[in-house]
Amino acid sequence: MESLDHLKIGQTAVIRAFTNEALSSKLIEMGCLPGETVSLSKTAPFGCPMAINIAGYELSLRKDEAALVLIDLVA
């Protein structure tokens, strides 16, 4: 399993789990939950924060936050 911060632009993955309690509750209420498909849409200049496509919209989060989200690469 990889973490979300390693996702490259255009890659798709499925969210598996979170390694941080507080962040998971924030992300889940925004539709970013285990089983959802996620893809990286862009990163800000200097690589952080990043923007992901999830649940039909675009969500931005910092790289160290993305590191707390575990994913399975799909393609």
Binding site: E21, A22, L23, S24, S25, K26, L27, I28, E29, M30, G31, L33, P34, S41, K42, A44, P45, F46, C48, P49, A51, A55, G56, Y57, E58, L59, S60, L61, R62, E65
Partner: protein, 679 residues
Amino acid sequence: MSETKQNNYLKIALLGNPNAGKSSVFNGLTGLSQKTGNYAGVTVDRQEGKTTFLHNQTKITFSILDLPGIYSLYPNSNDEIIACKTLLDEKENIDVVVIVVDAANLKRNLLLATQLIDLKFKTVIALNMMDEANKQGIVINIKELEKTLGAEIVPLDSRRQIGFTELKNAILNAKVSPSIFYDLTASYAAEYPNYKEYIIATLNQNKNKTSAIAENADKIYRFNSINYLIAKNVKSPEQLSSKKISSKIDAVITHKVYGYIVLLLVLFFVFQFIFFISEAPMNWIELAFMNLGDFVHAKLPEGQLNDLIVNGVITGISGVVMFIPQIAFLFMFIGFLEDSGYMARASFIMDKVMRRFGLNGKSVIPLISGTACAVPAIMATRSISNTKERLITVFILPLISCSARLPVYTLLISVLFPNSQFLGIFNSKGIVLFLLYFLGFLVTLITASVLKRLLKTKETSFFVMELPVYRWPQTKNIGLMVFSKVKVFVKEAGKIILAISIILWFLSTHGGSDKYKELEKKQNTLVNLESSELNLVELKKIETEKLEQSYIGKFGHFIEPSIKPLGYDWKIGIALITSFAAREVFVGTMATIYQANDTESEIGIKQKLLSEKDEAGNLKYTPAVCWSLLLFYAFALQCMSTIAVVKRETKSWTWVLVQLAFMSALAYLSAFGAYQFLS
């Protein structure tokens, strides 16, 4: 207190996700009949409004409460907690909950909707942005969705004001939905009788591990049901055209080169408006109040009351009204940037840089606006949702050199360099001015970095935020927002500004001593004489002596020992005190003290200052004194309006006093250092 409930009066709460267009639904229902208040003890605006209409020949009134945007009933930030607590507060007596849902973003929006339905309020769902959903080719089977949710769904197009009559009717007929989507008290929190009791109880206590697990399970279960609902009832194209357009715009806006160029252009434009375009209306306001003052002065009988009204009250009010153009322009831009979706992108590309200094991507706009005026800039920090980052931004903003410092800088620099001098190709005056602005920014960033380490918060900070699709902002929403911001400023900061103006007026026009009364008598006899050249000079002299003998003059003498190490005498002491109201008053006070000719004040004072000698016969305004004063004004919190706004925006006098103490110490020490080093 509970009012007697009648069928023709209903209390409505508006709830929904951020970016779901809640405020346009609120504006569509209430129009100008809005009131911005405050929730006790926190810096969250409380928006309320009323709408009255005829229904079957009966007059019906809705009192509508617009609650802060939330994603679920398990709040993370302060304003989310407020939204949930207010909804469940018995004193609020909410009759009907209107859930505002973005039709183009149904999945995420329905989480909150199902939770609110489970609270067993009477609910109506406002399916907002139907126009966009239609344009995108999203087809929603509203009838089926209504059946499952058990609540009436009203499609809305708030841009064209379509659907509001239907929404009002639906509110009148609202029922409690029979559906239950999930009840976490059944499996995880058996000690609570039902979902509502659980939410009320957990809002008022610290979360524990069990409740966190229960709540995540709740959300995941709900999303499973929602996925099923959406698969059955919503048809949506593979890729939405709005997303395609947004990602094309973003290719430029968040680009590593073009993105910053665009941001720079936006900031430059905002800066131009606040700094230069506001100048004209501000001058009109100043002129209008001067005329009003003259008019009142002529109409009212001579005396104390006349003077109080003209020089205390009218001056004070004009000092409040003066800020309206800047506040209005700044919030017009902020409204446009927020509603269009640009603000989220600006935060996105600035976050990494700003975070180093304990600031936020959203601190950029306030920081730039601060170069014009700290007052609207501090008000603009509302959009920073992280409390710590917001407080740091508020704290450092007054350190940035604002436009009120310019007259002070200009005068002192012209004394420092009476003739144009050049350093290479650069004008030395320009270099000094640039240095002062640069110094302001430098100290601002250093202070922010220090505060970042000092301040501790309980709130965990995440930068998880939606990048909404680009939308053309609605003028009505921006107009109403600007109107409410101006109203709040005038009402709340205005009180403090007016009070300080009157106190300063009293202290500078009253003196307890016999000498003061004698001067007053002398002045009166002179005024009553026929005017001649000699009288005017004599009058000016008396005015100066009066200021010296007034309470403020006494105070100037009193503080002289403490400001002597900075190179100041009691005359500068007086100017320091009077300019506490606003920095630019320094110039006017110096003109009075040195009896400069009013009409050409700046050149007049400059000459006076250049020729002023101390007791030993040496020049008074040496470069050491000028630099000391320049640095003092660069860092001192000499602005009552800023103090009033910081008080309002932080809800605490402690914060104001800490800021005042810090900036005063900084000003004193740097002025001291400069004077001692240079003399």
